[in-house]
Amino acid sequence: MAWPHVTCFGISSALAITAAVMVVTRRNAVHAALWLAVALVSTGVLYLTLSAQFLAVLQVIIYAGAIVVLFLFVVMLLNVNEDQATDRRRWLAVVGLALALVWGAGTALLLLAGPPAGTGLVVRTPGDVALRGTAEELARAVFEHHALAFELVSLILLAAMAGVIALARRTPRGAEEIPGKRGSP
């Protein structure tokens, strides 16, 4: 094991986990969003150690850049970053926590103890070219293998765009409803 790799893995995974915990425990929504950015960036660093350089870049740009900014934007727009109310359904959190921990511990332990990947159809042969995760490799995979999936993703984005416009369109109250017509389903 190469030490730089291990060190890098240790630091960024610890950071990612800590940040994730922070996301779900912070009372201030702005802080939560910022911690989310930290978690996502640390995951991006983990990608680097997994020879997925292009994905790491995308992770930082799209996830940490665009998505977190979107979150921050909405939090600030609504201006309700503090969680005032006390939790009336604490039992839910407790039960959920317990179950989730059982779940997490179980899966993690089982997967650690289980057989390594590679029992399936694809068995790596020595002749294979090692994966480097460059933009070129990814582009080939997307356009040669996942062409259909790529098209579907474009449709998903189209639907989301149209939907957000429909939902966010500000019409004066009652303008959508023709006066005199009742019972809009």
Binding site: L92, G96, L99, G106, T107, A113
Partner: protein
């Protein structure tokens, strides 16, 4: 030889269906007067009856075995399942169809008078015609699948007609109860049908019911199929423990009770068992089950009938009891006797119901027999018809009821089925009780004490459109038995002769040796003696003041006993028979109806409702709770699928 009618079986259900279509949809609402709709309805049933007669005539002249089914079009042609739309007109369905269309025609005519003042005769006759079409489809179907369509169809119509007066809350509840209890039976039928398809790979009668196919099936599977079919039959034919809907079904108009809940639909269960006689004959255990359920139902229902005070409910329990006889006959392999009883029962029971309807019509809708009485003077024609039907059902020779019942009793007695004597004893007790409750009913309704006579003076005789069908049914109730099933000499048993194709299988554990003429006469004499004594005792006792019965029930009637010898006999009868019988019938009514089966049904329903309410409360509208449920599910899924590594 080329026959004129053979290919046109479809005409039989077609006419009523056309009538229903006309009355329901085609005729504009404004023109739906009683005259128009009843003419259409009666005409369509008459056409159907005529077609049946012609077809039967041709069938009788056809001297070769059983006729083949007639295929009309490819109905379901899907993978392994190939079921054409085919109809079968063999002696069994011919007999049943003649009965259904004939009795149905008379009841349709009667309805014209009975429903004269109803605001919505169009709907009534539409349902009634639709019922006829469905019933005939059930009887003529050549596959379990098509039969099931008719089976569900008659259930639907029955439900619609029970709840016909939908302003009555009780009618709605009764309709609902009928539908739901029938669904339980239908579930059994459906399961049986699937098992048949799995076992035989077909749903057509000729492929399933052939001996070669049956020999290859495993006994367990045969038992499952026959038992499940019988569950379906108990639902439709109101046998224990699914009989609870029939008494409530009397909420419907009386012609409906006569047609559907006495003469035709409720015999569909018997028809199914007879149709599948080949299966039942091959499976002894299921036949035994049929026989026992039949005889127990017959006995308990007749006990309950003793204590009823509503005229239609007495008749309803009597129907249940008579259906029990039919199943008893099926259970001992006397299938022809069962069908004979179906036919004669249709005659006298329809007559009884129509008579009851006429009495209710004359008294302005009274159904409580304690408040009737003395109708004999004012409604003579109804009284005579009712009296004849009573004699017939009670089993007085040589009326129709005697002939068919005696044939069943005879078959039960000589059956090689082990506890045949026990079955016979129970059946003869039932015969006695039948005579008692029928003449109790007759005496209280049409005779009774002086007070009752006064009440009866206000009644009026029904119009002849009602009494003529009544008279015709009464005539049939007299001669129907001897005409169709003359017991001796054997060659003149018309139904036996007609249904000879069925006799091949109809003698499985019904013994070949009938014990000779001597035994037959002895058994007939016993049955007749029992019936006569029951009828005479009941009539004499209940003709007196009704108070006496009540007093006796309160154990205050000892004074009467000591006064006269006459009364002493009555009293003896009261103490020995009526007292315990009343108590027993109360008990039976309580156990089987109110607390027992109804209790279980209602209890189960209550539990289901509670559970539903609880589950609904889980639906708290809180997203996080929903997410938690998903997580619980996910944990369970992973634990289950990874169980190989965990445990």
């Amino acid at each position: 030889m080329d026959f004129l009618w053979t290919k046109h079986i479809w005409l039989i259900p077609f006419w009523p269906a056309l009538g229903a279509l006309a009355n329901g949809v085609l005729i504009p609402r404004a023109r739906k007067t009683l005259d128009v709709v009843s003419t259409v309805a009666i005409g369509s049933v008459a056409m159907s009856f005529l077609c049946t007669v012609f077809l039967t005539a041709e069938l009788a002249s056809l001297r070769i075995g059983n006729p083949a089914p007639v295929e009309y079009f490819r109905w379901i042609d899907a993978g392994d399942l190939r079921v054409p739309f085919a109809l079968l007109f063999d002696p069994l369905s011919a007999t049943m169809c003649l009965m259904v269309t004939g009795v149905g025609l008379l009841i349709h005519i009667y309805s014209m008078g009975y429903m004269a003042h109803d605001p919505d005769p169009g709907r009534f006759f539409t349902y009634l015609n639709l019922f006829m079409a469905m019933m005939l489809l059930l009887l003529l179907a050549d596959s379990f699948l098509l039969m099931f369509v008719g089976w569900e169809g008659v259930g639907l119509c029955s439900y619609l007609l029970i709840g016909f007066w939908h302003r009555k809350e009780s009618a709605n509840r009764a309709g609902l109860k009928a539908f739901l209890v029938n669904r339980v039976g239908d579930a059994g039928f459906l399961m049986a049908m699937m098992l048949i398809f799995v076992t035989f790979g077909s749903l057509r009668f000729d492929e399933v019911l052939s001996n070669a196919a049956i020999r290859q099936a495993s006994p367990t599977m045969l038992f499952a199929i026959t038992a499940l079919l019988f569950v379906g039959a108990t639902g439709k034919s109101a046998q224990l423990p699914l009989h609870v809907w029939l008494p409530d079904a009397m909420e419907g108009p009386t012609p409906v009770s006569a047609l559907i809940h006495a003469a035709t639909m409720v015999t569909a269960g018997v028809y199914v068992v007879v149709r599948c006689a080949a299966l039942y004959s091959a499976e002894g255990a299921a036949s035994a089950l049929v026989a026992w359920i039949g005889v127990i139902t017959a006995l308990l229902a007749s006990l309950i009938a003793l204590a009823q005070t509503d005229i239609k409910r007495v008749l309803a329990y009597s129907t249940i009891s008579q259906l029990g006889y039919m199943f008893l006959a099926c259970g001992v392999g006397a299938y022809v006797a069962a069908i004979l009883h179906v036919v004669t029962h249709a005659f006298f029971k329809a007559c009884l119901f129509l008579g009851a309807g006429s009495a209710m019509h004359g008294t302005g809708g009274q159904t409580d027999i304690r408040k009737m009485g003395g109708l004999a003077k004012t409604m003579p024609r109804t009284t005579v018809a009712f009296w004849i039907a009573c004699l017939s059902i009670a089993g007085i020779a040589p009326l129709a009821g005697f002939v068919s019942k005696d044939e069943i009793l005879h078959h039960v007695f000589v059956s090689t089925y082990a506890p045949a004597r026990t079955l016979w004893t129970l059946a003869i007790i039932t015969a006695f009780l039948t005579a008692v409750y029928m003449f109790r009913l007759f005496a209280l309704t049409f005779h009774g004490d002086e007070q009752a006579m006064k009440r009866g003076a206000h009644a009026h005789e029904s119009p002849s459109v009602m009494t003529i069908p009544l008279m015709m049914l009464a005539a049939l109730a007299i001669v129907g038995g001897l005409a169709l099933g003359l017991p001796y000499p054997p060659g003149l048993h018309l139904l036996n002769h007609f249904m000879r194709g069925w006799l091949i299988i109809g003698r499985h554990h019904g013994a070949e040796d009938t014990g000779g003429l001597g035994l037959a006469l002895a058994l007939a004499a016993i049955a007749l003696a029992v019936a006569v004594s029951g009828a005479v005792l009941a009539f004499r006792f209940f003709r007196g003041p009704y108070r006496r019965v009540e007093l006796l029930q309160r154990r205050l009637g000892f004074a009467y006993t000591l006064l006269s010898r006459k009364l002493y006999i009555d009293e003896l009868y009261d103490i020995v028979i009526v007292g315990p019988a009343v108590g027993l019938s109360r008990l039976a009514a309580d156990v089987t109806d109110t607390r027992g089966i109804d209790g279980i049904v209602h209890g189960a329903a209550a539990i289901a409702y509670r559970a539903g309410e609880g589950l609904r409360r889980l639906q708290t509208s809180h997203t996080r709770v929903y997410a938690l449920a998903m997580l619980v599910g996910a944990v369970a899924l992973v634990l289950y699928l990874a169980r190989g590594m965990l445990f």
